[in-house]
């Protein structure tokens, strides 16, 4: 047997799961897709005394359009994000990022809520959630609260979830008009953890200049890292090569603190971040332009 012994509970309703957490939240570990938790249990790096399996909570497996935005149930498998037509229409950045999450076999099991709650700094979904201004719904027997994605992540593998709380839903706002996006990452092999990745979003104004930009990185800090100053520098520019170079320099030099490892030094990661920022901004800018010029654009 690889994992150490644990008590196993598989509640078949959200209320039952929250009831368990209300009484035993401190000792419980939640099992969603298990694609990160089971490996560390196999290594016995994690030895939870109580495992609460959420896979019977079928009610939390859904994708739903809501007022032009997208609602995603926490137990929705990542694979479904690749296949459901709602995703490219309502969250194209998310659609572009999903194939970078490990491999198809992993995405068949891995869930949206599990990836967010696990808060791996090298994971794609946390960075995308921040870049898209997602909000997450946290529920407990005491009630529920909504938290902005950028407030949800609290450090390395850490979130603001209380021991009795469960992440049950993600809400993405409607995609703004005149907006382009890009998700890019560098990994040694496809499906490996990214050495650096970026989720970028650019919104243009009516004159075709950058109104707002978002730059969110993975694998360069202890969670999703947002380069707010660099994004601010881009506002009002025409996304010229000079403007992009200045923002890329700013983001990679002053707004991240990557840790080197045997495959990539901290300097190399900064270099990757600088190059990826430029590529992502050019791609996002071009997509925003294409949307601006598309016939019938407008309110949507």
């Amino acid at each position: 047997m690889k994992p150490a012994s644990f008590e196993y509970l598989a509640p078949d309703s959200l209320d039952a799961a929250l009831d368990i957490l209300a009484h035993r939240g401190g000792e419980a570990k939640l099992l969603a897709g298990g694609q990160s938790l089971i490996p560390v249990m196999n290594f016995r790096l994690a030895q939870p005394s109580l495992l609460v399996d959420l896979n019977r909570l079928r009610d939390l497996d859904y994708l739903r359009e809501d007022g032009g935005g997208l609602r995603i149930g926490a137990m929705t498998r990542q694979r479904r994000l690749e296949r459901d037509p709602l995703v490219p229409r309502l969250a194209p950045l998310l659609r572009e990022a999903v194939p970078f999450i490990a491999h198809p076999q992993i995405r068949n099991r891995g869930t949206v809520g599990g990836s967010l709650a696990h808060a791996d700094p090298a994971a794609e979904l946390p960075a995308v959630a921040v870049a898209l201004d997602a909000r997450v719904r946290l529920q407990s027997a005491r009630g529920e609260r909504w938290v902005e994605a950028r407030e949800f992540f609290a450090g390395l593998f850490t979130t603001v979830l209380e021991p009795d709380e469960m992440l049950v839903e993600v809400a993405l706002p409607p995609p703004p008009a005149l907006t382009g996006w890009a998700f890019l990452e560098v990994a040694r092999r496809h499906g490996d953890y990214a050495q650096v990745g970026i989720a970028a979003r650019v919104t243009l104004d009516e004159g075709g200049r950058c109104r707002e930009a978002r730059l969110v990185y993975l694998s360069v800090g202890d969670g999703p890292v947002e380069a707010r100053e660099a994004a601010r520098m881009l506002a009002g520019t025409d996304l010229s090569d000079e403007a992009i170079a200045a923002a890329s320099d700013k983001a990679s030099r002053d707004e991240m603190d990557p840790t080197g490892d045997i495959h990539a030094s901290a300097d190399f990661k900064r270099h990757l971040a600088r190059v990826l920022t430029g590529r992502a901004l050019r791609r996002a800018g071009a997509r925003a332009q294409a949307r601006a010029q598309a016939p019938g654009r407008g309110k949507e």
């Binding site: 047997m1 008590e7 298990g34 089971i38 249990m41 490990a102």
Partner: protein
């Protein structure tokens, strides 16, 4: 001591019922409890893909699922591929003919990854094939012969 959980599931069309500890991995359940040793166990942390099986038709890593979680589900392992004793699935046949294996350790995982892939995408490009097998490691072939085998199988299965 350890609590046992009753699981009832279908494996390769046959129903089976066992009592298992919660911490038993599905890969070990298949091999040790059911004797289906075609499912190979390599890294046991979701990297190598050797233990890939179908869970309700989807390829998954059986080393990252607990046996108790398979209760009520339908599984298929490499033992379920061949249509009859002495015959091979077209993909197995193509692996044999195109030298898609040498030592064979990774082969069950590749097959179980690729069978649903070919059902979904009957005439894949080389790029699509390589993407499909990106989660399976092979240390012998360099992958080229595996790609050849998939293309051969796809051609035959399509013209059937």
């Amino acid at each position: 001591m350890s609590v046992l959980h009753r699981v009832k599931l279908t494996v390769n069309g046959k129903t089976c019922e066992r009592e298992v500890e919660a911490r038993l991995l599905l890969s070990d359940f298949l091999r040790h409890d059911l004797g289906l040793t075609g499912t190979h166990v390599g890294c046991e942390h979701g990297v190598c893909g050797a233990c890939t099986i179908l869970l309700d038709g989807d390829p998954v890593r059986s080393c990252l699922i607990l046996a108790v979680q398979a209760d009520g589900r339908e599984l298929m392992t490499v033992e379920g591929l061949a249509p009859a004793p002495g015959e091979l699935h077209p993909l197995q046949q193509a692996f044999w003919e195109a030298h898609g294996l040498q030592c064979g350790f990774c082969t069950p995982g590749f097959l179980m990854t690729l069978v649903p892939f070919l059902e979904e995408n009957p005439s894949p490009t080389e790029h699509e094939i390589r993407h499909a097998i990106s989660g399976n490691l092979c240390r012998c072939t360099g992958y080229q012969h595996i790609v050849d085998a998939v293309q051969l199988a796809a051609d035959r299965m399509e013209t059937k």
